[in-house]
């Protein structure tokens, strides 16, 4: 027999390359993070410790930033970034259940030192601006920027989504460089809110064609500080689809503690959480509720924060597409058949969600009324009674209720993009099935889903709304609003709306809003399911971050990382940061 390398007696034929591969893999060994030991110690530092300079915070988001400019931003991500990049006349914060507008003495993001009401009916607001604020390119921020911003929003060529800000504004005039006057059509509670839009720099955009403003060079290539901002950070580098690096704005006071904030785009939820757990990322928002136990098991390294009750989820019934939905009692029966607390327990959301009674979540101290507006109880017997009384029986023994030969069968739409809603729709389907109601599920891709909602081309839909911080219900329930997706018309409620909008003060208006809400809940055009906390997971490395109902990016200039936990991420070419910890591997990088 010819002995050759592939005979069984000489196995090294394949063994050698295999060994090479193994060696190669070992050579790719990353060092263990030398910070792990230190972080266990450093986690002992509580809040209230002195902020230390330096460090890079890494945040993970699921979509990329798009157009971070006050006039044109659309997505929630861009909206969050406004808080970081642009100052406004006043700064809104959520305190004790209501929105409070801070001035320059309480917030470095506010342009105005003081304001007063003026004019007949006090329908004008006069703001006095600080004199010492500058844009990131050094130009002073003046009242003319404010005027230009509001003019641009009103200009139809811009097609700005911020129309609600300018709906009631007659004009905005600059008395001088540091005084600006808003003339409103009448006095109403939202005046402060509507004059609180982020301000854009006039000197950058005044010569631009407003119809093409979305393709302005500063928006297409905002990095290297080309996008002129007023907030604590500016855009240093933007790798589209990958990451955005925010660097401190040298003209903002107080100067941020951090060297950089990096926002990384990681579309897949599992990957985001893995990166959080390996320490590569410091903030993940939101965290799906069923991942919370896993994260809690991480103990010291990760803490969970809530953005309270800023959204609610509901089932909308469209009577135009399915006649039985026209009867409020039938809608009520469908709501009674659902066991919302059970759903919350099933999805492990019970700590982060509250069964909903109506359009106002508990965050609204003045409007939330648990006495008058209660969530529907889970009462299958009563639901059955109601349906039977309306003539729905199972006459053909197929398990589905019917009346006049037509079965109680409809399609429930949800958005495929949201696994939680998909889950809830499946549970709801089962719970209704026990009653003899046959709901077919259909998941649509988000755009299509939203279009069907707005076009009222659906029978029932399970959706969610983010709760605006103003009590105005007309967006969703006004007779002509495009977002009145169930085509709800009730003259009594519309009258209450009109009265609420006509009131000059918040307190007066709130009475009418509450009354309208109570009537709405009686009519049950939706089954309100639950109010939801958004849960964010933060690594204990990142200190000073304030997360509440208002959001997570409110006070980026106060974020800090203890020096012992700063990872020595290079922030300048060549220069090794002075505070980098000694690393175990020769290359100085951690393969993580």
């Amino acid at each position: 027999m010819i002995a050759h390398p592939f005979s069984p007696r000489a196995p090294h034929g394949w063994a050698r390359p295999a060994a090479l591969v193994l060696l190669l893999l070992l050579a790719l060994a990353g060092c263990r993070d030398p910070d792990d030991a230190r972080s266990a110690q450093a986690a002992g530092d509580g809040e209230g410790a002195t902020p230390e300079r330096g460090g890079v915070a890494v945040l993970a988001e699921h979509i990329d930033i798009n157009q971070p400019m006050p006039l044109v931003f659309e997505s929630n991500m861009d909206g969050d970034l406004q808080d970081v990049l642009y100052m406004a006349l006043t700064r809104g914060v959520w305190r004790d259940g209501r929105l409070v507008y801070l001035l320059a003495d309480e917030s470095p993001m506010a342009l105005a030192e003081r304001y007063e009401y003026a004019g007949p009916d006090s329908a004008a607001l006069v703001y006095h601006l600080r004199g010492d604020v500058r844009w990131s390119d050094g130009q002073p921020i003046t009242a003319h920027d404010v005027v230009w911003t509001y003019q641009a929003v009103r200009d139809p060529r811009t097609a700005s989504p911020r129309q609600d800000y300018v709906e009631h504004i007659d004009s905005v005039v600059a008395r001088d460089d540091s005084t600006v006057v808003f003339h409103f059509a009448h006095r109403y509670p939202e005046m402060l809110s509507h004059s609180g839009l982020g301000i854009a720099p006039r000197h950058v955009y005044q010569d631009a064609d407003l119809a093409q403003i979305r393709s302005h060079p500063t928006l297409v290539n905002p990095d290297q500080g080309r996008l002129v901002v007023s907030g604590p950070f500016q855009i240093g580098r933007w790798d589209q689809g990958q990451q955005m690096v925010l660097v401190p704005n040298p003209h903002f006071r107080p100067q941020p503690h951090l060297d950089q904030i990096v926002i990384r785009v990681i579309p897949e939820a599992t990957t985001r959480l893995v990166e959080l757990q390996t320490g590569a990322v410091d903030l993940v928002r939101p965290v799906p509720h069923d991942q919370i136990p896993t994260l809690q098991a991480q103990g010291e390294r990760i803490r969970l924060e809530r953005e309270e009750k800023r959204q609610y989820e509901f089932i909308a019934y469209n009577p135009a597409a399915f006649a039985p939905f026209a009867d409020a009692e039938v809608r009520r029966a469908l709501g009674l058949a659902l066991d919302v607390p059970g759903i919350l327990r099933a999805l492990q959301m019970q700590d982060y969600a509250l069964p909903a009674a109506g359009p106002y979540p508990p965050i609204f101290r003045d409007l939330y009324d648990p006495e008058r507006m209660r969530p529907l109880p889970h009462d299958t017997a009563r639901a059955r009674q109601i349906l039977a009384a309306k003539g729905w029986r199972d006459s053909d023994g197929d398990g589905v209720l019917d009346k006049d030969g037509r079965p109680f069968r409809f399609t429930l739409l949800t958005s495929a993009a949201n696994p939680r809603r998909a889950d809830v729709s499946q549970i709801a389907q089962q719970q209704w099935k026990r009653l003899g109601i046959d709901a077919r599920l259909q998941q649509l891709e988000f755009n299509t889903f939203f279009e069907r909602l707005v076009g009222r081309e659906y029978q029932a839909a399970l959706g969610g709304w983010a709760v605006g911080l103003s009590p105005d219900l007309t967006e969703l329930w006004g007779e002509d609003s495009p977002f009145n997706i169930v085509d709800y018309r009730n003259p009594e409620v519309s009258a209450l709306f009109r009265q609420a909008l006509a009131q000059p003060t918040e307190e007066a208006a709130n009475r009418y809003w509450q009354a309208a809400a109570a009537r709405l809940v009686q009519d049950q055009p939706y089954t309100w399911l639950y109010y939801l906390d958004q849960v964010d997971a933060v690594s204990n490395r990142l200190r000073g971050i304030k997360i509440d109902t208002y959001g997570a990016y409110q006070n980026t200039w106060e974020w800090w990382i203890p020096e012992a936990l700063q990872r020595g991420t290079p922030t300048r070419a060549g220069a090794a940061p002075a505070d980098s910890p000694p690393s175990a591997a020769a290359s100085g990088d951690t393969a993580r």
């Binding site: 609600d164 297409v220 990681i266 757990q277 299509t448």
Partner: protein, 327 residues
């Protein structure tokens, strides 16, 4: 030869035009509207109309088609609705990102696949052959995204939690701050970030190549001239590698041609899972956002690369095999 080349080139032009038209009409005739993402309770219908005008969507379909075709053929790929930047600026970077991943993956696929195939062919029906078939088939038959997620969980998360000496990054092309590192460190960083995604992408397909290679080698090994070579007393290694392999490679090279579409878009799921900013992810995001110009431009680029690649392959074949030229 020249005539053949010209004929093929001319044949490619209507093909490309056909592709352009097909893409345009599929995307525009489907329900769904790019301005839908601008809907929000605060936006008045007039504003949406203005947006449509700004984006040129208010014109009839055939007018849009002609306008688009004209600009496309002059090299202007238009503006992405979603990112509001010229697509011509956007594409090269994304293309390069994907190519890094898929080229490395392709190398893995073919090298690994060929090695396994050769071993299997030489040891036909032995234990090694059956075992390798099974293992290869196992990975070939796994959904790629499952494999990718398992890799992340084991080689990134668990590796760190359980204190293994090797642990890889779970996402991204490079670490934070990589742009400030010296060149060799950046290169190393990129390699480290490539390991998991390229492996997830490549292992399954390597199995496919292995089976193909096995079949092809088997065909060649049983030929007379191999028996002659052996009878001549040549060493087995020389027989395999110098004589059999060369001839067995030809069909495998055809296979390489079939992987052309893979080069640009085969990594959709892996790119999403590993947050790799490549073409596949770009297309999927563009589709979900109804970003028509971007969908059309990217589909066209992929299709054009495939068509041209096939052309090149045909030309190479014609050079090698005179029978085809005569057709």
């Amino acid at each position: 030869m020249l005539a053949f080349l010209l004929r093929r080139l001319l044949g490619a032009v209507p093909l490309l035009l056909g592709i352009l038209t097909l893409i345009f009409f599929i995307v525009h005739l489907a329900p769904g509207d790019p301005t839908a993402r601008f809907y929000s309770p605060n936006v008045a219908p007039e504003v949406i109309e203005q947006m449509r005008r700004n984006l040129g969507l208010d014109q009839p379909l055939h007018v849009q088609y002609v306008k688009w075709l004209k600009s496309f053929l002059t090299g202007d790929f238009g503006y992405s609705f979603g990112q509001m930047r010229p697509i011509g600026e956007l594409l090269p970077g994304v293309l390069w990102n994907t190519l890094q991943l898929t080229l490395v993956s392709l190398v893995l696929i073919f090298v690994l696949g060929m090695l396994i195939g050769i071993v299997q062919a030489v040891r036909q029906y032995s234990l090694a052959d059956n075992l390798l078939t099974f293992v290869a088939l196992f990975f070939y038959s796994m959904p790629t995204f499952w494999l990718a997620l398992m890799f992340i969980l084991f080689f990134s998360l668990k590796a760190q939690q359980w204190g293994w000496p090797i642990s890889f990054p779970a996402s991204g092309m490079s670490r934070v701050g990589a742009e400030f590192l010296p060149l060799h460190a950046q290169l190393w960083d990129r390699v480290v970030h490539l390991v998991l995604p390229a492996a997830a992408l490549g292992i399954g397909s390597a199995a496919g190549v292995a089976r193909y290679m096995r079949g092809s080698m088997l065909e060649v090994i049983h030929q007379d001239y191999i028996r002659t070579a052996r009878a001549k007393g040549l060493g087995e290694a020389r027989v395999i590698f110098r004589h059999a392999l060369k001839n067995a490679l030809l069909p495998v090279i055809t296979l390489l041609g079939l992987y052309l579409p893979f080069l640009l878009s085969g990594a959709v799921l892996v790119e999403t899972i590993f947050a790799w900013p490549g073409m596949g992810r770009l297309i999927v995001d563009a589709i979900f956002q109804r970003d028509y110009p971007l969908v059309m431009a990217t589909s066209f680029v992929i299709a054009a690369v495939v068509v041209l690649g096939n052309l090149v392959a045909d030309v190479l074949y014609a050079l090698v095999d005179p029978r085809i030229r005569a057709e």
